[in-house]
Structure formats: structure tokens, C-alpha cells
């Protein structure tokens, strides 16, 4: 009897002395594209998240991050929406992240708002996206950020007429509008414009039309990854360079991870973008080295990986500050104005728009040792999303 009482007392004592700041497990639902033609994009994201977890999971101790990864199969908003619904209501995640494609982010927006669920966008780059839910924050980029300065640069570089060819969906429309505005404001002339279908396009007729218009340069945006490589090859096969027509665009068309499969075709192509694997900074060198150690000497992390990497940093910042107890509104307050030294350079989440503020670099594809790389030849510091500057909220 006595021993029983002692045991009970000991149990009660243990209960009382349990640490007050208990270790929380924060579940983060990641919706990304792991299968289908765009699988390579989601895989970069997934690899970056895994690498982050391996190297930085300890940053949030005593708390834990649990990643729940789901495949949205590509630009499929209905699937993305259902996955978000499941992650919120069944898996009971505390935060959402990922999202390669704009339409998928748009489908999730009403859910995020209803559930007060913070979503850290790791890619989807249409300007309007962050205005669709107060619980969206973006750590990637917008097409306006790269394409508007691209237009200004093209005019300054002495290019007088440009033909635009973009993929026919949100980001493509943004890239087209931004470039045309930047270029024509500076006095350039648009020789013509085409929009190319999102799914399995054959680029030959579009490039032929561009050639017939005889511009000095073609501005193009296609989704990063295999499509960009296909476009590049068709561009070379159609003899555009021989016809004296240059290729320019946002960095999506010469992503670092696709450069090895493009051969020497893109040499001399000038792009404007926020990240190059060849960016010269200690943070980037460390990031590249960690990546190569984990995934092999030939593996190259591109902007998709950096977006996911920085997204994870933003998420762990929130977890640390909130001591593992995630609240939608408090999390958003912490994300607003969050500053970070990223492999791409200094970044900040704009407190007013929850969109990314970052440097944009003018780069040219050049030989670097045996491989081709996006070599930075100029920088435009701390670029806010120009679309939001031109279209202030009413």
C-alpha cells in the first residue's frame, strides 16, 4: 500500500515537473509537382526541402518540422485544391508551402483564407497571386520583376525591334505584358507577339512566325525545365542565330539545372533573373557545395531549389518565433518584413504586399570551365514587384 502511494506521488511529481515549453511538431504540407512532364521542377523543390531538413532541422529545436509532401501532377488546380483541403482538414498541417504552378495557387487561395492557413509560395510567379489571399507570402519571384527590367535593358543594349513568344497562361501573360511595357516605354518597337500552348507545344510554327517577322531579338518565356530546353533546340534548328536574331527572356529559359542538357545552343543568350548558380557570394558557394555533396558533383540546384530553400528558412523563422505554436495571423505578421541572406543575395518579404523584394541580375550564358553558366553582368538592387507598383490596391 505504501509503495503504491509512493508510486502515485512520483507519477504526480513527474507530471508537474514536465517541461513547460513542450516540444511541438509542426506539420508543413507541401503541394508540388512530382509526376508528369513537369516532375523535374517538383523534384528540385523536394531535394531542397530534404537537404534543408538534413542540415537545418536542428535550428528549430526543441520543436520538430514534419513535411507532408503531396503530388499535384502539374498545372491541375482541381487536384491542388483537393490536396490542400485534405492537408488542412485531415492531416491537420499547420502551414502550407510548395506550389509550382500559378493556377494551383489560385485554386488554394480561398481555402487558405477560410482556414487562416499560411502558405509560403516557393515558386508560382504570377503577380496577382499574392493579392488573392492575405495568408499568401511569396519567397520566389514574379515575372514582372525580371521581364520589366529586361525590356528596359533590351532598349539600352541597342535592340530596336523584338518579337515576343510566351506560354499561354498567367505567368506568360505577365512576362509578355511586363516586357512590352518596359521595352516600349523606353522607345522599343514590338514586331509581333504569339502565345504558345502550355501542354506539349511544338515550337516550330511559333519560331517560324518569329523569323518571318524579322525582329532583332525574340523575347520568350516558357515554363522552366524541359520545355525551355526544347524551345532552345528548336530555336537553333530553325537557324535563328544565322538569321541574326538574338534570344532574350527571363531566366526561366536558361535555368542552371537545364543548362547541361542544352549544349552550346544558349551561349550568348541574355536573361534577367534573380538567381544564377554561378552567383558569387559565400552563402551561395556554401549552398552549392552542400548540394553537390548530397546529390553528386554534377547536380546543379536552380532557382526552384533556392525558392524552396528560402521558403524553408522562412517557415523555420516562424516556428522559432512562435515557439512551435502556429497561429495563422501571427505567422503572417512574422513573415511580413522577414529579411534573409539567400544564396541569390539579400531578400525581404514586402510588408505591404507579402511579395518578395530581391536583386535582379542581368546575365549572359558563357563558358565557365567546361560547363556553361549564367554569368552575371549587371545587377538591379532590391526590385519590388513592378506590377504591384503600377496597380496599387484600390
Amino acid at each position: 500500500m505504501k509503495s503504491m502511494i509512493r508510486l502515485a506521488a512520483a507519477a504526480a511529481l513527474a507530471f508537474v515537473l514536465a517541461p513547460a515549453a513542450s516540444a511541438e511538431t509542426v506539420k508543413v504540407g507541401v503541394i508540388t509537382t512530382m509526376s508528369g512532364p513537369f516532375a523535374s521542377l517538383g523534384q528540385q523543390m523536394d531535394q531542397a526541402i530534404k537537404l534543408y531538413m538534413k542540415l537545418h532541422a536542428k535550428d528549430v529545436e526543441p520543436h520538430k518540422i514534419e513535411i507532408v509532401l503531396r503530388d499535384d501532377t502539374g498545372p491541375a488546380p482541381d487536384v491542388a485544391k483537393r490536396l490542400a483541403q485534405e492537408l488542412i482538414t485531415r492531416d491537420r498541417v499547420h502551414m502550407l508551402s510548395g506550389v509550382v504552378f500559378t493556377p494551383n495557387a489560385h485554386a488554394i487561395a480561398p481555402l487558405a483564407t477560410e482556414a487562416k492557413m499560411p502558405l509560403v509560395i516557393m515558386n508560382a510567379g504570377t503577380s496577382v497571386t499574392t493579392t488573392l489571399s492575405p495568408y499568401f507570402a511569396r519567397v520566389s519571384f514574379t515575372l514582372w520583376q525580371s521581364s520589366y527590367p529586361m525590356g528596359q535593358w533590351a532598349q539600352q543594349a541597342g535592340i530596336k525591334s523584338v518579337f515576343t513568344a510566351v506560354t499561354d497562361y498567367g505567368p506568360g501573360h505577365d512576362a509578355e505584358a511586363a516586357f512590352i511595357k518596359g521595352f516600349t516605354e523606353a522607345g522599343g518597337k514590338i514586331a509581333g507577339s504569339v502565345r504558345m500552348p502550355v501542354a506539349n507545344p511544338d515550337f516550330v510554327p511559333f519560331i517560324q512566325r518569329a523569323k518571318d517577322a524579322n525582329p532583332e531579338a525574340v523575347f520568350t518565356f516558357v515554363p522552366a525545365g524541359r520545355q525551355a530546353t526544347a524551345f532552345m533546340k528548336t530555336f537553333a534548328e530553325r537557324g535563328m542565330r544565322e538569321a541574326g536574331i538574338r534570344l532574350i527572356g527571363p531566366g526561366d529559359i536558361t535555368t542552371d539545372e537545364e543548362l547541361p542538357s542544352m549544349g552550346d545552343v544558349p551561349l550568348g543568350v541574355v536573361t534577367v533573373h534573380h538567381y544564377s548558380a554561378a552567383h558569387d557570394s559565400p552563402t551561395n558557394k556554401a549552398f552549392q557545395a552542400a548540394w553537390k555533396q548530397e546529390y553528386g558533383a554534377n547536380a546543379v540546384p536552380g532557382f526552384m531549389a533556392v525558392g524552396a530553400w528560402d521558403g524553408m528558412h522562412a517557415i523555420s523563422h516562424v516556428i522559432k518565433q512562435l515557439n512551435g505554436k502556429i497561429d495563422g495571423d501571427k505567422a503572417m505578421a512574422l513573415l511580413k518584413g522577414w529579411k534573409h541572406e539567400s544564396p541569390r543575395g539579400p531578400i525581404m518579404i514586402d510588408p505591404d504586399t507579402r511579395d518578395i523584394v530581391q536583386n535582379e541580375y542581368i546575365r549572359r550564358v558563357e563558358k565557365l570551365g567546361n560547363a556553361n553558366a549564367n554569368i552575371e553582368i549587371g545587377v538591379i538592387p532590391a526590385v519590388k514587384d513592378p506590377w504591384k507598383v503600377f496597380n496599387p490596391p484600390k
Binding site: S35, L69, D71, D78, R82, Q85, I88, E114, D168
Partner: protein, 327 residues
């Protein structure tokens, strides 16, 4: 003891208790504490879509690789009506979508059903591809590849709001599927339905005995199109989003796979196929987000090789074995 043909006919029409099993399961699932209702809703919608295909493929023998055309027309009819015309009342919009898809079924049926075999297959596919391209080109109307956003749907009957947990969607889809099932069941057991089976088995003979083959085919094609359109509208209303996917070849293919998987020409094959396909896809993609397609493919190959009647065909064989042993 052989049944008289008339008795046999009546026996098929009579409701067997086992036919209520899927409904009991579906209703029971709703009350499970951890029910995945968004997935459940998706299964119900695809079951309706597969059921519509069963009428033309399983019962009439019309092979279609473009049934998503009608699914998509229904989805866009409901979506566009809500988005641009302010037609936010769900039930009437559902009927409207069914009518539009049915009308499209009559028009395209009158053209494509003049052919058969490979030509028919290609034509059904061509219709869907053309519609998808039209929807893509009319970006100002349909949102193009970005999808149709900003759809608002009123609460069902003015009472039940479409909630985040998918409760309303699930019950709504279940009721619609049940009504559609009654219609489909009535059709296949009617003399008209028997005529369809006759067309499937031997169309020349059917016309020789004076059956209006073409008219019957167009009629069932239109009914099937209407049901597919209702399924599409259900998807549009429950996700409040319509994308070009609803007209895609993938959707036409998926619904075909579901039907083959479950078993054609038996109404319930649609239920079994949709459930197995979508649950498997969900589970497999949780295990391996990148390679889940492999598992589905394997199952399909196994079904086609070893179970020609689909999963329900396997059940039939098993039941026949048990009965055979008993007697």
C-alpha cells in the same frame, strides 16, 4: 430449371438486396469520424462519369475516347453560368449543364455515330480535342489554361453551404449519383435498354428486325452525355474551379480505365472502378509522389490479362465457384 425469357427479364429488373450495398457503404462512410470526404466526393463524381460511359460503351458497344467532351461541357456550362450570368443556384445549374451536354451529345452523336470501329474512336477523340482547344482560345471567357476562377455557388437548397470539409459536396454528389443510378438502371432494364444490348451484339441484325438502330444510338449517346455533363457540373460546383483538364484526353482515358477496371456493362462496375482507381492513386501517391502511375498501370495490365470482366467479373467468378461447389 430454365427461366422463361420474360421471367428472366423481370428478374433482372427486380431490385436485389445486394444492389443497396454500395449505397449503404457510401452513406456509412459519411459518418466515419476520419472520413476523407473530399476524396469521397471525387469518387462519387467519377463514378457518375463512369456510369454515363457504361451506358454507351458497356451496354451499346460504342467505344469512345472522348467522353470528357461532355464532362467538360457540363463543367464549363455550370462554371460559366455561375461566373458570368450569376446563375449561382446549384440544382438548377446542374440541370442546365446536363441539358447543354445532352444537346451536344445529340449533335455530335448524329455525326460521329455514323462511323464505327477505329474511325469512331478517332472522331470521339477529335471532338474532345477540338473543344479543349476552343476553351483554350476563348481565354477571356474561360480563363484558358489558368482556369475559370471566381465561381460562387449558393448553398444547396439555400441551407447547406459548400464547406471546407466537403460535407455538403459529398451528400450533394451522393444524392445526384443515386438519382442518376435510378435513371440508368431503369434505362438498361427497359425494352429500349435491351435493344441497346442487341445493337452491341449485332447491329446489322437489329436493323434487320426493324429496330431503329441509329436513333437508339443517338438517344443513348445523348442521355449518357447529359449524365457526364451533370458529373462535370458537380465537379465545377464542388471545387468552384474549372480548368482545361476537364476536356483532356487524360480524363477520357481515366474514366475508361475506371470502367474497364470495375467491369463494363454492369452499372456497378463504374462504382467499383472509380473507387479502386482513386483510392489507389491517393494511397500510392502518398507512398511515392513521383512513381504512383506505375502501380495503377500494373493493376490495369493485370485486370486486362486475368480478369476480362473487371473486378466485378472476378466477384462473379468467385460466386459461381462457391455455388458450384454447393450444388
Amino acid at each position: 430449371m430454365a427461366l422463361h425469357p420474360i421471367d428472366h427479364f423481370a428478374a433482372g429488373h427486380r431490385l436485389r438486396p445486394i444492389e443497396l450495398l454500395p449505397w449503404a457503404l457510401a452513406v456509412g462512410y459519411f459518418f466515419l469520424p476520419n472520413a476523407n470526404l473530399p476524396l469521397g466526393t471525387e469518387i462519387l463524381i467519377w463514378a457518375l462519369f463512369a456510369l454515363s460511359l457504361d451506358l454507351v460503351l458497356g451496354y451499346t458497344g460504342i467505344v469512345s475516347l472522348g467522353h470528357a467532351a461532355f464532362f467538360g461541357i457540363g463543367a464549363y456550362a455550370a462554371g460559366l453560368a455561375a461566373r458570368w450570368l450569376g446563375w449561382t443556384e446549384p440544382i438548377s445549374a446542374l440541370l442546365f449543364a446536363g441539358l447543354v451536354a445532352g444537346a451536344a451529345g445529340i449533335v455530335s452523336g448524329m455525326i460521329v455515330l455514323r462511323t464505327h470501329g477505329l474511325t469512331l474512336l478517332m472522331l470521339t477523340m477529335a471532338v474532345a480535342v477540338m473543344l479543349k482547344e476552343i476553351a483554350n482560345k476563348l481565354g477571356w471567357l474561360t480563363g484558358g489554361a489558368d482556369g475559370l476562377q471566381g465561381i460562387v455557388i449558393d448553398p444547396v437548397l439555400g441551407l447547406y453551404r459548400f464547406d471546407m470539409f466537403g460535407r455538403t459536396s459529398y451528400v450533394y454528389a451522393l444524392v445526384v449519383l443515386f438519382l442518376a443510378w435510378i435513371v440508368a438502371r431503369r434505362i438498361v432494364h427497359s425494352p429500349f435498354g435491351r435493344g441497346l444490348v442487341g445493337i452491341r451484339e449485332n447491329a446489322t441484325r437489329m436493323s434487320a428486325i426493324g429496330s431503329p438502330v441509329m436513333r437508339r444510338m443517338v438517344t443513348v449517346y445523348a442521355i449518357s452525355a447529359a449524365l457526364a455533363g451533370v458529373a462535370g457540373a458537380l465537379l465545377a460546383q464542388s471545387t468552384r474551379y474549372v480548368t482545361l483538364n476537364v476536356l483532356s484526353l487524360e480524363y477520357s482515358g481515366d474514366v475508361l480505365i475506371m470502367l474497364v477496371l470495375g467491369g463494363m456493362g454492369r452499372l456497378y462496375g463504374a462504382f467499383a472502378g472509380a473507387t479502386v482507381f482513386l483510392v489507389l492513386r491517393d494511397e500510392l501517391s502518398k507512398i511515392s509522389p513521383a512513381y504512383w502511375g506505375f502501380g495503377i498501370g500494373l493493376l490495369l495490365v493485370a485486370t486486362v490479362l486475368f480478369a476480362r470482366g473487371g473486378l466485378l467479373g472476378l466477384v462473379d467468378i468467385a460466386l459461381a465457384r462457391i455455388r458450384g461447389k454447393r450444388s
